[in-house]
């Protein structure tokens, strides 16, 4: 049975990646799972300079979800290359470096620095972090900015280029189309939804940044609808993200149009979750006579007479 997937110039051994910011740089979770069973690892967002991140409190549990405002805490590009990349490079899985920045120049600088490093198969561009003041969501909620970033980065790499979209917009399909037009190999979605929690005893926001990003099982229905919407809008592959906890969840994302998926918050409950999901998907395919998992991608059966919802603009 074939579970592999070619995305741009990158070959994934299966459809299951771990999501940026939820799996560190691979080494931390290594004792708890077999990293070679993953299709790929998307690193914590890397920026040019190290970022200390936001003050505590950075996370808050909500019902079937969690809020985070980590603030892109990361070691910065130099330390990433010297301290983190050697470990990642040696793994038998694809490495996708997620890049965050507060200006187009910073994105370009980080990517150009990484271009000369071996052992990186692709980039995922975080234009959509809700938890930093400059850049972040401001890029991701403006179609023209998303377009410019994609254009500038595409010029500079032949590695696989994935743009990670925010769900916090009215028409996500427009953003995906902009990425496709500018030559992105894929879009990944969704990043977190803007959310908030209040401590009624102190009457203060729980998070030091007031609002944060909502992730986990709570957001899965929203993520599925967004992937479905983007699938109707573009022809480039989609990487589905949002609340995926079981292999059944992953199959749902494939059916609505995702070519691959990322496991985020679920790794906090179980660092072995992504590997288990990959195994579960294989068993499902074997049991249902699916010889190539690609058969499932976009395989949603829409009963006759049912029109796509109004908000979906068809190509």
């Amino acid at each position: 049975m074939n579970t592999t997937f070619t995305l741009g110039t990158m070959h994934l051994k299966n459809r299951v990646l771990v999501a940026s910011g939820t799996f560190g740089y691979g080494n931390e979770a290594a004792p708890y799972t077999d990293l070679s069973r993953l299709g790929g690892i998307v690193t914590k967002s890397v920026s040019w300079l190290p970022r200390q991140g936001n003050a505590p409190t950075r996370i808050a549990e909500t019902t079937a979800g969690m809020l985070n405002s980590i603030g892109l805490a990361n070691v910065g590009i130099d330390a990433f290359i010297s301290d983190k990349l050697p470990f990642l490079r040696a793994l038998e899985t694809s490495i996708i470096v997620n890049i965050a920045a507060s200006s187009i120049d910073e994105y370009v600088d980080v990517m150009e620095r990484l271009e000369s490093e071996e052992g990186i198969q692709g980039y995922e561009i975080n234009v959509s972090c809700p938890n930093v003041k400059e850049g972040g969501l401001n890029f991701g909620t403006r179609c023209d900015m998303t377009e410019s970033i994609t254009r500038e980065l595409r010029k500079r790499t032949s590695r696989t280029l994935i743009i990670k979209l925010t769900p916090n917009v009215t028409h996500i399909g427009d953003f995906a189309r902009a990425c496709e037009a500018e030559g992105a190999d894929a879009v990944s979605l969704i990043n977190t939804l803007v959310g908030m929690a209040v401590n009624i005893h102190t009457r203060r926001p729980v998070l030091s940044t007031i609002t944060g990003g909502l992730s986990g099982p709570a957001i899965k229905p929203v993520a599925l609808a967004k992937v479905f919407e983007v699938h109707k809008a573009v022809s480039i592959p989609i990487i589905g993200i949002g609340g995926i906890t079981t292999w059944q969840d992953a199959i749902e994302f494939l059916l609505v149009g995702a070519s691959a998926i990322q496991v985020g918050t679920a790794s906090f409950r179980d660092p072995d979750a992504a590997a288990k999901i990959a195994a579960g998907m294989e068993e499902y395919c074997a049991a249902h006579g699916v010889s190539d998992i690609q058969e499932l991608v976009g395989g949603l059966r829409i009963p006759e007479g049912v029109a796509a919802p109004g908000f979906v603009k068809t190509r």
């Binding site: 910011g21 560190g24 004792p31 200390q52 505590p56 409190t57 950075r58 996370i59 805490a73 401590n199």
Partner: protein
Amino acid sequence: MPVINADLRVTANDLIAEETWTLRFHSPELAAQLRPGQFLNILTSANVDPLLRRPYSISNVVGDECEIMYSLVGKGTHALSQKIPGDTIGVLGPLGNTFGYEKSFGTAIIIAGGIGVAPFPFLTRELQQREIPLITFLGARNSARVVSRGLANLHVATDDGSEGFHGNVIAALSAYLDDHRVENPMIFACGPNPMLKAAQAFALDRGIACELSLESEMACGIGICQGCPVERHQGERKFALVCTEGPCFDSNDILFQEQQHA
């Protein structure tokens, strides 16, 4: 020794004081590895409410069994309190660093506030095995909440004066040290942040070495979420992660902010 991420069998779950429980589970592997100060990240419920694991200090190890101690607070501890022998719980660990009980000092001064007593039965045993003298100061809301088992040389302070010293545990310690000579002491403290802050100030003032076992919101417990920072006093890194660099810190390393977010 391999790390553990498994469903383990509960062997006991008992109410030992007001709203305070101990839970034991069977795990020869963990029993062999765990050291005082470390913690486990526990899935209190098979369904996703609550979603995240909860960290608990290892409270003791008895043969092939490990024990945690918890007080009833919210969803997670409510779910824990429902477990009966024969049920399983998901346990991830061992996690975090240990108390510096192998450092060189003369007498260990243990300061525990509320459920902060949890890690100390285990530490007490290790100290006693090494024949290191120790004194324990335990603060509790009232007499019904005093958990003395596994502790040694115990001095109790209660907020309402229903047992021992009437007042907070740092005041009790301070009074004690005014009257007694303790050779080359080192403090090990665990409890609510205001108590830890007081312990920090006290230790600094008296020039006593001091380790604090800290809490923080945690999503993962293994360093992959960056959710559990504590602010550092100095150095180029502003934050340390409680889960991988702690939970035990030299008290001089920690900067307690005015509690902005509780």
